[in-house]
Symmetry: C2
Subunit: 367 residues, 2 copies
């Protein structure tokens, strides 16, 4: 039994435990759920049906790709099931002849009008926050050995690229676009699927934006002041996520910002161990930054894996979760000022038995 079959069996037992006969998951434009890749290995748009009796049915948009990549009891073209979630579900229910009253759990991301269209017939349709899809998200936030092997490849490529970026910037002048395309090229040449998300490369003058727009331009790097590069490498579906800030000829105020961010990382790392509440962790960093005169306009970090933003979410006021061994997430304190520029330092961490392992080697690059 391969990893995917094992994961599917675990989910089937969750269904049985909640008296759900059928769970439907969907990963497509407008309704993303990377849990299908987690459960089957299929990397592209599809609908997955998991039955309480242990069987699974995958309906991929691209049947050729699924035949190479996917593990499921049955794999059939989505085309044969009407190409809409509603039609596919109707057909599966008709084929399966589930007893009237059976409980069928549909995606929690299902739009209200679509749910109202689908939820008819002699079944009991369940669509809830913190349901089985969320339970699978919880499984996914603790990385297993197979996932860690893959993630470590992504991290290793990421660190190599960070070194190449530093060398490129020390060698002389280039552009935001040069850096972004260096990242993309090196990632793919190293066997990655690509970048984990659109690279952000923002020289001073644009770095005060939390999310630079456009993501990268022809602007010259390095520039005096604070310049930000935020990228990830996606290897076999799993993505890293790091940010480095490049500094040159800083003013005293900018030096203060750098010291503050490096101090914020120290504050966070001291709390990285099993049992820490994510809200306490985030709150401690926020408090430290505020005592230094800055409010962080985004969250402290987020889980990474098959999706760039997944559980656990490191937020100061909501979603308290206790850190557990095997959780892999970013720590990314950042502060931004329209005049002084922006600075963010982001690395990826894993919680261990007694503390943490720092998985990437991003740093402030001082030119």
């Amino acid at each position: 039994m391969n990893t995917y079959s094992e994961r599917q069996k675990k989910v089937s037992s969750l269904l049985a435990g909640e008296d759900i006969s059928l769970l439907v998951l969907c990963d497509r434009e407008g309704m993303r759920n990377p849990s299908i890749r987690y459960l089957t290995g299929h990397p592209s748009d599809s609908v997955l049906f998991i039955f309480a009796d242990g069987r699974s049915l995958l309906l991929p948009w691209d049947i050729n790709l699924a035949r190479i990549k996917a593990t499921a009891t049955q794999i059939k073209p989505y085309n044969d099931y009407g190409r809409t979630l509603g039609q596919a579900l109707s057909k599966v229910l008709a084929e399966e002849k589930l007893p009237a009253g059976s409980r069928v759990e549909v995606p929690d991301a299902l739009p209200y009008p679509e749910f109202m269209n689908i939820a008819n017939g002699p079944y009991q349709f369940v669509c809830r926050e913190n349901g089985l899809a969320s339970a699978i998200d919880d499984m996914r936030q603790i990385k297993d050995d197979a996932e860690l092997v893959t993630l470590r490849k992504a991290f290793s490529i990421t660190d190599d690229i960070l070194d190449k970026i530093e060398a490129e910037l020390r060698a002389g002048q280039c552009t935001e676009t040069d850096i972004a395309l260096l990242i993309d090229r090196e990632a793919r040449l190293a066997g990655a699927e690509g970048t984990g998300f659109e690279t952000l490369a923002a020289a001073m003058g644009r770095s005060y934006n939390i999310h630079a727009f456009p993501a990268y331009t022809g602007a010259i790097m390095p520039a005096d002041g604070l310049s930000i590069i935020d990228f990830g490498v996606k290897y076999d579906g799993y993505t890293s996520d790091v940010t480095t800030t490049i500094t040159r000829n800083l003013s005293p105020e900018q030096e203060h910002m750098v010291a503050l961010i490096e101090g914020a990382v120290d504050v966070a790392e001291k709390l990285l161990k099993p049992g820490t509440l994510t809200t306490d962790l985030s709150g401690a960093v926020n408090g430290y930054l505020e005592s230094g005169g800055f409010v962080m306009p985004h969250n402290l970090g987020h889980g990474i894996g098959l999706y760039i933003h997944e559980k656990p979410f490191l937020r100061a006021k909501v979603d308290p979760v206790r850190l557990q061994k095997g959780m892999v997430f970013t720590i990314e304190p950042g502060i931004y000022d329209p005049k002084l520029g922006g600075i963010r330092l982001e690395n990826d961490y894993m919680i261990t038995d007694i503390g943490y392992e720092k998985l990437t080697n991003s740093r402030i690059i001082r030119l």
Copy 2:
């Protein structure tokens, strides 16, 4: 009054006509709706409230960016409104003191559980397919003069890049990644925001996939047989979408596929005029390809604009729509065979008073 204010006024009058007091639109990870950019110019995550009395309130995630880019009666940080759609809506409703019983339309993409949480209080919450959000999508499918000026810039950059790709491939050997990064670099140097979606570059051996996975690799191009390059250029939010197939040393079966695709384009172009039903158009092309021995596994085309897949959708069996002047969409017949490879030829078209204008110059590149 600028373009954005005018568009907002049009939407306000739609509200008044349906006795809706407040329309909520949302564009964020997991709930995309580019109509916010269409209505305000704001290019990034945000929630937009439009009132029947003509006012608008934009809650952007990035307030700095919104202050530069956005048009709305009021612009306030999403942070001040709790950073969730539910909290933001509660606060706005409390501030506005709408009369009890007022009709409030929320995004049709709102997940069922979230709708059930939000839809309380003395208001009547409306969440429906083909509601006001859909009416705005309908407005967007007919491009106005300002949009056409922008789109033509995207098309012009696209055509220049097609010529550069052809020159590169004729000059000698490169890789899928070289081509993809050439596209990205040239787009940005020409002032585009970037590519409209992840470029697909699939040499023979991978070209039979409808959607190559990974999107591009270190594989050598050109290769003997059929190789596909699919890309778009995003200028000021508006994207082009073209596909070229590169041919070299074809077998007779592959030559037949090329002739069939070029014939399919002719079949389509003959029907491109106001009044044609999208289902008739798509059905005619499907029939032609089937008579040549191939089933097209995807739709004939889709509208383009602020989103890569928007109305009108050119589908053979569902969503019949009559073509109208000002609609801009792709025509992209494609056929795929695991042994022979894949071929797709995609260009962008606009419906005119009497027929069509072909907006891009993609072609089969025969080496």
